[in-house]
Symmetry: C5
Subunit: 327 residues, 5 copies
C-alpha cells in the first residue's frame, strides 16, 4: 500500500504481512517486472502476457500461483474522443501476495478497495489473497455499469435524433456500434473467466467466498445481457433511420411529381398559343387566337386539367392524406 | 395476510402459523428491509439484490433459505405511454415463511393467490412454503399472457397499417420491437430459473409438486416461443413496409416519368414555332409558319409523338399493366 | 370405434376389448371430459392442457398414463382464406385404452387408421396401445407432406411472379412466411416429442416398435428440413423482389433522365429565340433573327446538342446497352 | 458384376462368391425389389425408404444388415437447365452381400469402383463388404468436388458481372443460391451419416478401415465448408450488386439534377422576355426590350447563373469529383 | 538443417542426431515424397493429403507418427494483387524426426526457428520433436498477426473513405470481406487442431510443454476473435456506406425538387403572357398586356410564388436545415 518501496522492503513486507498487494502502474520498467517475476517465481509465459497488452480475459494456474487477466473499461471522456477504451489488468495471486499490473493510464477502479484498505477494513486485510482478488474483480466489473449507462443515454438521444431525421445519426450509430463491439470483446471472455474462477477448486478462494464469486458472475451476465441488448437497439435504430430516409425520399419525390405533372401540360398549352403561325396566311393557322373567348377558354381548359390532376393525386393519397384518411 | 402488523406480531405469526407470507410493497423503507433481513437471517448479498431492482431472474440457495428473483410484466396502459414495463419480485422461501418484495407499483398479479388464501384454500394454506412459491410463480407467468395478447393484436393492426401504407408504421414497429426486447430479456432468464427450480433437489418442493413446476416450465417455454414468433413477425412487417415504400416510390416515379417524357418533346416543338426568326428577312427562316396546313401539321406531329410514347409505356407495362396482363 | 356409446358401454368395452380407442371430437362438452378424466384417472393438469388448445407438442408421463400433445396441420382451403391452421390433438395412452381429444374441426388425418381398424387389421387391433399411438402419430406426421407440397407449388409460382414483377408478390411472400412460421412452431416441438418418445423406456412402446418410431423421427426431421428450406427460399425471393424493384426504379429514372436532359437545352434555345427583344431598337438585339440561315443554323445547333447527348448516354450504357456490349 | 442374371444365379453367386454386389438401376420394377427384399431379409421400412426417393442421408442398423441412404449430386448439364440435381442411393450391406439401389438416371459415380473390380483389384474383392461400402461412399463424396468447382467458376464470373453491372446478375445469383441450398441439404445429413459410420462399432467395418472412414469424414467436412463459403460469397455478391444499383441510381439522378437545375432558370428568363406585354401601352411594360444592350445583358445574366451553378455542383463534388479530389 | 543431403546421409543423421528436421519445400518431386514416405513409414492417406493442398487444419495419429496439417497465411503483397493467400504446411512428427512439407512459395514463417537452431538453442535441439513441432506451430500462428494488422489499417482507411463517400468503397469492402472469409476458413479449423493437440495424451508433447500449447491456443482464440471482429466491422461499414448513398440520393433529389418546383410555375406564368391571342380581336383576349402596371404585377406575382415556396421548403427543413435547427 505504500508507494515505491525498495526491493528489500518488499521482501520483508511479504514475509511479515499477512497479504501484500503490489500494484505496478505502467509497463515501461521492464527491469522491475523481471525482478518481480524472478522474486515471486512468476512463469515466463505469464510475464509475456503482462507486457503484451492485447490479451483476452483468462485465468491460468501455474503451480500455486494463479494468473488472471482482466480488461478494465474506461468511461469515455473528451480526451478519448468520446470513445470507450479498455485497459489490461494482470493479477498474480500467490499464497501470501497479490501483484497487479496496469497499463498505466491515469485512473483505475480500485479507489474503493484502497479506501477500505486504508480504513483498515479488517475482512479485506485478514481474509487472504482470495478475498482481495475478489475485491479487485468486483471493482473491474462495477466499472462497466457507468460506461454502459453512458451508452444507454446516448441511444435514447439517438432515438430522438432518428425520429427528427438528424443528419449525423448514422455516423454516431456506427460509432456506438463500434464501441459496443469493443465492450463485447471485453465482457464475453470475462464471463468465461469469472465462471471458471467460481468453479475453481484451488485453495485461493475458500468455500465462504463462493456466494461472492456467484454474485460477480451474476453481474457479468447482466452486463453481457445489456451489451447485447444495446447492440440490438442500435441495429433497430439503423433500420428505423434507413426507413425514415426512404420515407423522406418519397416525400420529396411526391412534391416534385405533383408540381411537375401539374405544370408541364399547362406550360405546353401556353407554348402552343405562343407559336407564331401566321393567321393571315391560312384560315387553318391558329384561328383560336382571333376567337372572342379564346383566351378565357384557354385558361378554363388549363384550370380543368390542373383540377383533374389535383383530384387524382388526392385520390391516390399523395396530397392531404391525413384529411382523406379522416373521412 | 394482514396489513402492517408490528414486528412482534410477525414473529408470533411465524411461530404459530404453519406458513407466513410477508409481502413488502415498495423498497423505500430500508430500515424495515434490514430488520426483516436480520430477523429471518437473509444473506446480505440477497438483500442487496432486492434493493438493486435491475436483476435478471435467478434462483440462489443460501443455507436453508431459497432466494428467487422474478420479473413481473405490467400490461401496458396509458400511464406508461403504451409501453411495457417489468417489475422485480424478490422471494425468500424458508422452512416456515415466504417473504416477497415488490417495487411498489400499483397492482400485482397475486389477486388470485390472495383470493384463494382468504377463501381458505386448504391446499395453499397447508401444503408448505413450496406450494405458495409455486402459486406466486404461476401468477407471475400467467401475467405474461395478457401482455403478449396485447402485442398480438397490435401486430395484427400493424399488418393492416403496412398494407394501407400508414405513415407512422415504422415508429410503431420500432416501439413494438423495443418492447418485445424487454419481454425477451425478462422471459429467457425466467426460463432458466424455472428449469433449475424443477430440477432442484432441495426440500422446498416435494415430489408431488414436480408436475406443477413442469407445467410452469411448459408455460414459460410457450411464452418464449410467442415472444420469438412476435419478434420474427415484427421483422417481417418491417421488410414488408420497406418494400411497400419502394413500391410507392416506383409508382410516383412512373407518373413523373410518363408525364415528363410526353410533354417535354411537345413543349419543345411548340417552343420551336414560338421563335421569332423573321420570315421576311430570308426564305429559309421558318417558312412553315406561312404554310396553309402548318398549324394542323404541327398538332398532328405532336399527337403522333404523344401516341407513340403512350404505346411504348403501355408496352413496358408502365400504364394499364393490369389491362395488359389480362390479355 | 362406435359413435357415442353410453358411459357404461364404454366401461364394459374397456374391460372386454384388448385396447379401446375413444376419440372425442370437440371440446365443448366439459362434463364429458371431466367424466372421462375421473373414470380413467387422468391428471388434472393434463386435462387443463386438453382444453387450453394452444399447447406446444410434448409428452408427459403421469404414473402409468402417457399424455401426448400433437399439432395437426390442416391443408389450406378457401374456407381458411388460403392460410394454414393447426389443430391440437391430445392423446392419453394407458395400459388398455387410448383417448384422443380433437378441437372438433371437420376432417382429421386418421381416416387410414380407421380404415385399417374397420378392416380388422390384426396388428393394429392386437399390438397394444403403443402401436395405435404410433399409427395416430404417423397419421399426423404424414399430413404435413400435402400441406408443404402446397407451399412448394406456391413458391414456384411466386418465383415466376417475382421475375415478371407482379405487384402483389410482397404481400403473398409475407403470407407464406407467416404460414411457414406457424408450421415451424408446430413441427419443432413435435421433433422433440417424437425424439423423447423413441428414447422412452416405458412399457407403452415395446422393443419391436423402435424402428417405427425411428421412422417417424426421420420423417419429422425431413419436414423440419423442408420448412427451413422453404423459409430460406422465401427470404431469397424477397431479396430478389427488392432488387428487381430497384432495377425497375433505375429503368424508369433512366428514361426520365435521357428525355429531360435532351429536351431541356433544346427548349432553352427555342426559348432564347422566342424572346421579343426589339431588333429595331438596337443592332445588338438578336441580329440572328434577320440572318439568312439563322433558323437553319439554330436547328443545326439543336441537332448537334441532341446527338452529342445521345452519344454520351450510349457511351455510359444508358441506351442500347445490349447493342454496345455485343461489340 | 454381370448384368441381369436370373434369381437362381444370384442365389448361387451369394453362396459361392465372397462378397456379391447387386446394383439395381431404376426403381420401377417393384416386383424385383420385393423379391430381393424377401430373399435377403431386408426390413419393410428400409424398402419403403428405397422407393420413396426424398430421404435424407442416414444410416440404420436392422439386425445384421446395415441400411445406408446417400444423395449423389449430378454435375449440372444443359439437360437439367444448368441446375444441380441429387439422386438417392440406397445401400444394404449384409455379411456377404452389398445391394445398391439407384433412381436410374444415366451416369453414376462408381465407374472407378467398377474398373477396379473388373481389373480384379484384390483388396476390393477380398476385404469384405465394408471395404466395398467405403469405396462406394468415397465415389459419392468425390463426385461433390466437380459440382462445387462449377459453382466456384460461376461465382468468379458473377463477381465480374456484378462489377460490370450486368442486368441478369440477380436472377443468376438467385439460381446459384437455390442450388447451393440443395447441395447443403444433401451434404449436412451426409456429414452426420459418415460421422456415425466412423463411430460405428458393428462388424461391417474392421479396425483397419477406420483411417479410411476418417478420411471420408475429412472430405465431407471440407465440402460442407466449401458450400457454406460459397453461400457467404453469394450473399456478399448480392450486397455488392444492390449497392452498385444504388450507385447507378445516384449517377443517373445526378445527371438529371445538374441538367435540370441549370436549364430551368435559364429557360425561365428566356420565357420572361418572350412575354408579349405591349411596350407601347405603358412605359413600365418591359422597357428592357428596347434597351441597346438588353439582349447581351440578358445572355450575360444567363451565363452568370449557369456558371454559378456549375461551380456549386463542382463544390459539392457532383461534377468532376476525381479532378477535385486530386487537388 | 543442411540443404539437399543424399538419402543415405539422411538415414545416418536420423540414426545419430537426437531429432532430425527435414523440410521439403515444393511438392513437385513426387519420387522424393514417396521415398520419404517409405523410409519413415508414413501412411498413404497422409501422403495423399500432403499433395492435395486444399486440406483443412487437422491432426491425425497413425501408430507412433503424428500427422498435422496447418495453413500458413502470406502477408498480402503486390504480387498477389493485395489479396491474402494461405499455404498448406504438413508436419509428420515421429519419435526421432520431424518432416515438414511446404507448397514451395518463396518465404515461410520459420526464420526465427532456423535462427535459434543455427545459434544452437539448446532447448530446441534437445527437447525432442514435440518442442520443435511447438516452435513451428508458434511460427505459423504468429504469422497471422501481421496479416491481420494489415486489415485493421485497411478498415481504418475504409472508414474514412466511407465518410468521405469514396466511389470504390464497396468494391474494396467486398475484397476485404472475401479475404477475411479466407482467413476465417484457415483459423477456425486451426483452433480445433491446437485444442486437440493440447488435450492430446500421446508421448509427443510432455507435461512440461502443456503451458506452451495452452499459450498457442490463447493466441489462436485471440486471432479468431480479431477475424470475427473485423468481419463485423466490415458489415457495419457496408451499412454505413449504403446509408450514406441513400443520404446523398436524398440531397440530390432535394436540390432537383427545390429548383423544379420553384421555376415550373414561374415559367408557366411567363408562358401564359407569351401566348399570341390577338388583343385586337376581342376585349377578353389578354387585356393584361395593355395594362399600365401589367408587367410589374406579373413580376410581383412570380416573386410572391417563389418566396412562398422558399418558405415552405425552409419550413420542411429542405433548405438551411442547420440554420433552422439552431433557432
Amino acid at each position: 500500500e505504500s508507494r515505491l518501496p525498495s526491493f528489500e522492503q518488499l521482501a520483508k513486507m511479504v514475509a511479515t504481512n499477512e497479504v501484500t498487494w503490489i500494484n505496478v502502474d505502467g509497463l515501461g520498467n521492464t527491469r522491475l517486472i523481471e525482478a518481480l517475476g524472478e522474486h515471486f517465481k512468476l512463469h515466463r509465459l505469464a510475464l509475456e502476457d503482462v507486457v503484451n497488452v492485447h490479451q483476452r480475459s483468462k485465468v491460468d494456474q501455474y503451480a500455486d500461483i494463479m494468473f488472471i487477466v482482466l480488461r478494465m473499461p474506461h468511461v469515455p471522456t473528451e480526451a478519448t474522443g468520446g470513445r470507450v477504451t479498455t485497459e489490461q489488468l494482470s493479477i498474480f495471486a500467490g499464497p501470501k501476495f497479490v501483484i497487479t499490473f496496469q497499463e498505466g493510464r491515469p485512473g483505475d477502479c480500485f479507489d474503493r478497495v484502497r479506501l477500505r484498505l486504508r480504513e483498515g477494513a479488517t475482512k479485506l486485510r485478514e481474509a487472504g489473497p482470495g478475498y482481495l482478488v475478489h475485491a479487485l474483480l468486483d471493482g473491474v466489473i462495477d466499472n462497466y455499469y457507468p460506461v454502459l449507462e453512458g451508452y444507454a443515454e446516448r441511444l435514447d438521444y439517438l432515438e430522438d435524433a432518428v425520429l427528427e431525421a438528424g443528419s449525423h445519426v448514422m455516423d454516431e450509430l456506427h460509432e456506438v456500434k463500434a464501441d459496443l463491439l469493443i465492450l463485447r470483446r471485453a465482457i464475453w471472455p470475462l464471463r468465461e473467466t469469472v465462471a471458471s474462477l467460481s468453479r475453481d477448486e484451488s485453495t485461493l478462494f475458500g468455500e465462504s467466498s463462493r456466494p461472492y464469486l456467484r454474485d460477480c458472475y451474476d453481474h457479468v451476465v447482466q452486463i453481457v445481457d445489456l451489451v447485447e441488448t444495446y447492440r440490438e437497439i442500435t441495429a433497430d435504430l439503423r433500420d428505423l433511420h434507413m426507413s425514415s430516409l426512404s420515407n423522406r425520399t418519397n416525400d420529396i419525390m411526391r412534391v416534385l411529381t405533383i408540381i411537375s405533372t401539374i405544370f408541364m401540360p399547362l406550360t405546353f398549352i401556353a407554348g402552343i398559343y405562343g407559336m407564331n403561325f401566321h393567321t393571315s396566311s391560312s384560315r387553318f393557322n391558329m384561328p383560336e387566337l382571333d376567337w372572342e373567348y379564346g383566351y378565357l377558354l384557354c385558361l378554363a381548359v388549363m384550370f380543368v386539367i390542373a383540377a383533374g390532376q389535383m383530384y387524382y393525386f388526392y385520390y391516390r393519397g399523395w396530397i392531404l392524406p391525413s384529411f382523406r384518411a379522416r373521412k
